[in-house]
């Protein structure tokens, strides 16, 4: 793979380097951000702010800027990104191309809903302004378009006003899967941000036990209140572990403490970063999986089959004893995602990660595929290295229409895998 540091939003592509693919911050765990035999356009250096309207919170920025960089600068001015995923170390371009979602999907929908327009560089040499009115087809293909429609150079976003950088948060423990749905419904209106962390090792009566974490933006605190401050530093694991630290015993021990024994913080104030990006405290956390890495398994099941589907998925996972700590469940609301290939859709999304134990793990994932398919669900292409072509086409029935909008000189290892 040839690498080109893409510095300027005005620079042209040179045909000799095709096939192209943009790379944001490389936080997709899978091959949507890999382009074997082609060229990667590194966009991190294209990270300038272009315009900002303090009154309306509309910002124009280059696509390589990190969400964390935007937050660092806009939060103190009372503006917040409308949608953030579980890490702030991703680029705006990556957020668009995977049409990412946050814990507030029920009320905010996916990231793409807040994009007002973009500039897209095509290999034809055209630099198109695209939006819901201009080149609407390309706009819809580019949101959630996995980088395949060209290079996004500029994005215009609408932010939301917040009155502080703090959140009021609440954690509630639930003893088994059935309980979570009620809590979820109950918290719905008042708490825009919710996520359930699930123990995917527990079986039987305890199947699907976990902790529901809810949050909402807090008003400014009266003078003198001790408020949590954000200390920027995060720790990192400098090396891949020689072997995976994620095994049956470590996970069981961790989960037993987290889901049963440890006292929960209850209601408290947290900094936005501390609440929404807990994994960012440990950079390169995926290194705990060791050199062989892990398989993400991120799926969505439509509401009609969500409860049964999630139960079956968790049963199968628990029976395999391969589950890991990082199981998260979120509700997707009914606000439609604007992208042709967007992953978010009404339903429930479950994110499981599995240490790579070779064929045994792949067999388990194939079983999970059957459950997801039967429930009419889909897998997240942005977090995938193994889904089958059938699974992709079923989950994204508009793929043929999408394919007509792909830039012929852009491609990825993922896309070639889906179009053998």
């Amino acid at each position: 793979m040839r690498l080109i540091e893409w510095r300027d939003r005005t620079a042209p592509l040179s045909a000799a380097d095709a096939p192209f693919l943009a790379l944001g911050n490389g936080r997709s765990h899978g091959d949507v951000c890999v382009n074997d035999g082609g060229t990667l356009l590194l966009t991190r250096g294209m990270d300038r702010l272009i315009a900002f309207d303090r009154g309306t919170g509309i910002v124009d920025c280059e696509a390589g800027i990190l969400l964390g960089d935007l937050l660092h600068w806009c939060l103190p001015q009372g503006w917040m990104l409308p949608v953030v995923p579980g890490t702030r170390f991703i680029t705006v371009g990556g957020a668009v191309a995977n049409d990412v979602h946050g814990r507030n999907h029920r009320v905010a929908g996916s990231f793409g809903r807040h994009v007002l327009e973009m500039d897209l560089l095509r290999s034809t040499g055209e630099h198109l302004r695209i939006g819901p009115e201009e080149h609407a087809d390309l706009f819809a293909a580019t949101i959630g378009g996995l980088g395949l429609t060209g290079l996004i150079t500029r994005v215009r976003l609408r932010m939301i006003p917040v009155s502080s950088d703090l959140m009021l948060t609440e954690s509630i423990r639930f003893g088994h899967l059935d309980a979570v749905w009620d809590i979820n419904d109950r918290l719905g209106a008042e708490w825009p941000y919710t996520i359930a962390r699930i123990d995917c090792i527990a079986r039987g009566r305890r199947l699907g036990r976990g902790v529901l974490v809810a949050g909402r933006h807090a008003p400014p605190q009266p003078a003198g209140t001790p408020v949590p401050r954000w200390r920027g530093r995060s720790r990192s694991l400098p090396f891949d572990m020689p072997f995976s630290l994620v095994n049956r015993h470590s996970v069981r021990a961790f989960n037993a403490v987290y889901y049963r024994a440890a006292p929960l913080p209850g209601r408290r104030l947290q900094h936005v970063h501390g609440h929404l990006f807990p994994l960012d405290r440990l950079r390169d956390w995926n290194r705990i999986y060791g050199r062989r890495g892990f398989y993400p398994y991120h799926c969505v099941l439509p509401h009609a089959h969500a409860r049964d589907g999630v139960r079956t998925l968790l049963k199968r996972t628990a029976a395999s004893a391969q589950g890991s700590f990082l199981a998260a469940m979120k509700t997707f609301g009914d606000l439609p995602a604007p992208g042709i290939l967007s992953f978010p859709r009404p339903g429930v999304t479950l994110a499981l990660d599995f240490a790579n134990r070779g064929p045994r793990t792949l067999r388990l994932l194939a079983d999970l595929d059957d459950i997801v398919s039967a429930a009419g669900g889909a897998l997240d292409p942005g977090q995938d290295a193994r889904m089958s072509v059938t699974m992709f086409r079923r989950g994204f029935p508009q793929w043929e229409r999408f394919a007509t909008l792909v830039d012929p000189a852009f491609s990825s290892t993922f896309w070639r895998r889906m179009n053998p």
Partner: protein
């Protein structure tokens, strides 16, 4: 002696490392004069810095090709006319040449020496006298670990950065006691456009933000010679200890 300068001029401001440093300084309320050769890129940078500063710090731009040595004294004069309170400079421009082309033609080799060493030394000759007369200021220049020893893979670049380092050593000594600080910054492997053709995996490679934090710290502490990150100091110390008969065989 004041702490961080009030207004800093950054030469080669569109470089990745300089851009990150500029953002940090703005957040601390330091006024900036950014100098670069490419007007369009410079405008995009000043727009970005202006929005980030949010009216709290001033940002001004000057376009100049720093390889044009004859124009440098007038360039500095015009800058101090406009901004009499300039009391810090960061020289960040540089180019990592194609070593093979430098070996093939003297003109290429000389051009690289001009961009990486002579231009900075010309500028510094003017700036040093100016700061010395005013008895204040911080002068910082980005050299490189490549200037600590000659390597077969990049000795033209290394020679230029090494020349710069020796020049700065002398200048620092000359200005000692005059109220002017001279800082030599020596980054190691940094992920920037300059190094896009390298295989940049491994623990020694760092992002430019980290180097930028080191530069800001070096200004605050008025250091003499700074390796960025710090671990290059012991690495270079060990490298310099290798006897020449052994070193010449190493394919570094």
């Amino acid at each position: 002696m004041s702490a961080t300068p009030r207004r800093i001029a950054i030469f080669g401001a569109t470089s990745r490392i300089a851009t990150e440093t500029a953002r940090l300084w703005l957040a601390r309320g330091v006024a900036l004069v950014v100098v670069a050769r490419n007007p369009e890129r410079l405008r995009m940078l000043t727009d970005d810095l202006g929005i980030r500063a949010g009216g709290l710090a001033e940002v001004d731009a000057v376009t100049a090709d720093l390889a044009d040595l004859d124009a440098l004294p007038a360039l500095w004069q015009s800058m101090t006319d406009r901004f009499p309170d300039l009391d810090g400079v960061l020289l960040a421009h540089g180019s990592l040449p194609d070593q093979a082309r430098c070996e093939a033609t003297p003109e290429t080799m000389l051009h690289e020496i001009r961009v990486n060493a002579l231009s900075a030394m010309s500028l510094l000759t003017v700036i040093a006298n100016d700061f010395e007369a005013r008895r204040r200021g911080i002068i910082a220049v980005i050299g490189s670990v490549a200037g600590d020893r000659g390597h077969r893979s990049n000795y033209v670049y290394g020679a230029a950065k090494g020349m710069l380092a020796i020049f700065l050593q002398g200048l620092r000594s000359r200005l000692h006691g005059s109220g002017v600080t001279v800082i030599t910054l020596k980054p190691g492997f940094v992920i920037t456009p300059m190094t896009q053709d390298f295989d940049r995996d491994g623990l020694l490679w760092v992002r430019p933000e980290r180097v930028a934090r080191g530069i800001v710290r070096a200004f605050e502490r008025r250091r003499d010679v700074v390796y960025l990150p710090w671990f290059w100091r012991p690495i270079l110390w060990a490298t310099r200890l290798i006897p020449e008969p052994v070193f010449k065989r190493l394919s570094l």
